[in-house]
């Protein structure tokens, strides 16, 4: 019995069928998936939010999670920050010939656990196998459907002057955790991805305040990129306080060592909330009562309508721009 993925696993025959039923579907047990029809039939009433994302993180396994957990949480969070309650996911797997089955099992376990925590069901999917070298171990695509709360109008274009900006915890945890595992860097230490499903946290925010203007889960490109995106979408200025932005010390140290700015390093479990000043205290309190919001705090505010830009008040009391980054961050020495 093979202990790794073979081309035959993707051929559509018995081996494919066995792989899907025993190693994929078996972990995701639900009625809709159980029908094993060509499409999932769903009952939904109301306005829907729909999103898709592909996951190609390398390495697949990192402190705090793996590509499977990421694939569920990323899509759950994209729905959540629109004010939608995530319900259903699709799961597309592209497996490289030679992928150890034990690694697939671990990833599927992570997907199942994350889906269970988020309260979502994986109701449809697809599995393909490509020749060795045509993919890097495993690529995953998840699409997700969520139900919007009636009357919800939350969007990156709705931030307004006077809005307070709240974050649920420390930044740059995910990017540094993944980077530390990369070949050639060989750093070890107290680094851990913050990968987490945030729909529970978002529910608490929406229950605490009915006038949330915008939310975002800053991922690739970090906090700075999300703030710049919202500033542009809403045509506003934003100011954040350097002292208020929480960064764990080991994360800050690794960033310094590699010449990275934590503001631009990826997150996978962070929530930004833009709320009118009158609702800020209540939202922070509600977040701090939640598992993924214990360190929630105000980090800045929306200043004025007009040219979109993000400024930061530094530790020294000076002000400087927080620019949009271009291209990839490279570890550098000089």
């Amino acid at each position: 019995m093979a202990d790794k993925i073979l081309m035959a696993h993707g051929s559509g025959g018995l081996m494919s069928h066995d792989l899907i039923t025993s190693r994929v579907a078996a972990k995701l047990q639900n009625e809709i998936l159980g029908t094993m029809d060509d499409a999932a039939v769903l009952n939904c009433e109301g306005r829907l939010a729909f999103t898709t994302d592909s996951y190609v993180v390398t390495p697949c396994f990192f402190p705090g999670g793996d590509i499977g957990k990421l694939a569920v949480c990323g899509t759950v969070n994209d729905l959540s920050v629109m004010g939608a309650s995530p319900r259903y996911l699709s799961l597309g797997l592209i497996l490289e010939e030679g992928l150890p089955l034990s690694e697939l099992d671990t990833i599927m376990d992570s997907i199942a656990a994350a889906a269970s925590e988020a309260g979502v069901q994986v109701v449809t999917g697809d599995t393909k196998v490509v020749a060795r070298g045509s993919a890097d171990k495993i690529f995953i695509n998840t699409s997700g459907i969520g139900l919007l709360r009636p009357g919800t109008r939350i969007s990156g274009s709705c931030a307004r002057p006077g809005d307070v900006i709240i974050i649920n915890g420390t930044i740059a945890d995910h990017g540094t955790a993944v980077l530390s595992q990369r070949e050639g860097l060989k750093f070890s230490g107290e680094l851990c991805s913050d990968c987490a499903p945030l729909n529970g946290l978002v529910e608490a925010v929406l229950d605490a305040c009915g006038d949330i203007h915008a939310m975002r889960d800053p991922t690739r490109g970090g906090l700075a990129t999300s703030l710049n995106e919202i500033a542009r979408q809403s045509s506003v200025g934003i100011v954040i306080n350097e002292e208020a932005v929480p960064v764990r010390q080991p994360v800050a140290s690794l960033c310094e060592l590699l010449g990275l700015d934590p503001l631009y390093v990826a997150n996978e479990g962070k929530l930004l909330v833009f709320v009118p000043a009158s609702g800020a205290e209540k939202v922070v309190g509600a977040m701090q009562n939640q598992k993924y919001g214990r360190q929630a705090r105000v980090i800045g505010k929306v200043t004025e309508a007009g040219p979109s830009r993000v400024m930061m008040r530094t530790r020294l009391g000076t002000t400087r721009i927080v620019n949009m980054i271009t291209g990839d961050l490279l570890p550098r020495i000089c």
Binding site: R309, T318, T319, R320, I321, M324, T326, G327, C334
Partner: protein
């Protein structure tokens, strides 16, 4: 709290800042030589705290930025030689040569690996005995000893497939070239902190000695840079130029003698081409004849590389920026045709290029 973190405390800044404000020198122009200092100054917004008559200019202290266009073209051609694995520090990947960059060469199939340390390049050589593994040795005196150490280690191990393409440079000669040109009017120089940790402050003593220009070696926290500026202003006020050491916890007059000795053993000093300066005497480090078997330039395939000289984009003013003649924000293409997304020259690519630092941290408007 560890003694290191003490220097990060914002409260330490107040006293030295008040000292600076109380020293009356009239308008002064200070050059921070080092790209890391430019980045630190802009990132912390330090210019906003200084008196308005203290003007800061950035200098040529970015080894990626001062790498000559022909050398960039040569390294890209080197990467394309069959059997060569090119190891480079991350900054060089996106620098535009006349026809593309190393990143583009990689996309076209060249075997180019990013390394954090020269020791990683040695490991790649060990693991790939059938490849000619060439380290692209770009850097100043902070990095040159680490390149030298890798060559000695390769020799001790008999690692026959390891080579170094050395474009390492030394700093004091280019400072001399800058001052001798008379092109820039400066009253003080903030000397590079980590270069000085290796070579000591002594090699910079010709600056006050021959040019009567005030100097101080600075560290990289805002308070370190401010302390150096304070020392420079005191020198100017008292008409007593010298090389003060504001970074004394890591910098001495003599530096790291062990590292200096190693550099002298492994490298030979030669004239080198600097972007913006042309040829600067005794400013380049090439592998010494005693270590010739590790010198990529001795490799026939490399020595025989024919590079068509090609002028950089005429709109690119990197040369003027590097000589301190022009500030990035005064370049007509800054943010208009030249940006980190599509750089005309290396000053906008390297994370410590003055233009990249000004673009990322020094502007007042988003873009």
């Amino acid at each position: 709290m560890s003694i290191i973190h003490e220097f990060e405390k914002a409260s330490l800044v107040q006293g030295v800042l008040k000292n600076i404000r109380s020293i009356d020198t009239g308008p002064v122009r200070l050059m921070e030589f080092c790209g890391s200092h430019t980045a630190a100054i802009l990132k912390s917004g330090l210019r906003q705290l200084l008196p308005s008559d203290v003007k800061l200019l950035s200098g040529p202290g970015c080894p990626v930025c001062v790498t000559h266009q022909d050398d960039i073209d040569r390294m890209i051609a080197l990467a394309a030689i069959p059997g060569v694995t090119l190891c480079t520090f991350g900054d060089m990947l996106k620098v535009p040569g006349s026809r593309g960059s190393l990143a583009e060469a990689s996309a076209d199939g060249a075997d180019i690996r990013t390394v954090y340390s020269t020791l990683d390049a040695l490991e790649i050589a060990r693991q790939n005995p059938d490849r000619r593994v060439v380290l692209l040795g770009v850097g100043f005196e902070t990095t040159a000893p680490t390149i030298a150490a890798s060559i000695v280690q390769a020799r001790d191990e008999g690692l026959a497939n390891y080579r170094v393409f050395s474009l390492a440079k030394v700093c004091p000669p280019v400072v001399r070239a800058l001052l001798a040109s008379g092109e820039v009017d400066i009253d003080g120089i903030i000397c590079p902190g980590h270069v000085s940790a290796v070579i000591g402050s002594k090699p910079f003593e010709f600056i006050p000695g021959e040019y009567a220009i005030a100097c101080a070696v600075a560290g990289f926290e805002p308070v370190d840079i401010l302390l150096a500026i304070e020392m420079i202003l005191v020198q100017i006020k008292n008409h007593k130029p010298a090389v003060d050491i504001a970074y004394s916890r890591f910098v001495t007059r003599e530096g790291n003698s062990h590292a200096r000795k190693l550099m002298a053993e492994v490298f030979e000093t030669v004239p080198a081409m600097w972007r913006g300066f042309g040829e600067v005497p005794a400013s380049g480090l090439v592998v010494a004849p005693g270590f010739a078997e590790f010198d990529a330039m001795q490799d026939p395939a490399v020595a025989g590389l024919a590079i068509e000289p090609c002028s950089p984009d005429p709109g690119c003013r990197c040369g003027d920026i590097l000589r301190g003649v022009m500030l990035p924000e005064d370049c007509p293409r800054f943010g208009k045709g030249c940006s980190p997304a599509c750089p005309l020259g290396p000053c906008m690519v390297s994370a410590e290029g003055a233009c990249a630092s000004y673009y990322m941290y020094g502007r007042q408007n988003g873009g």
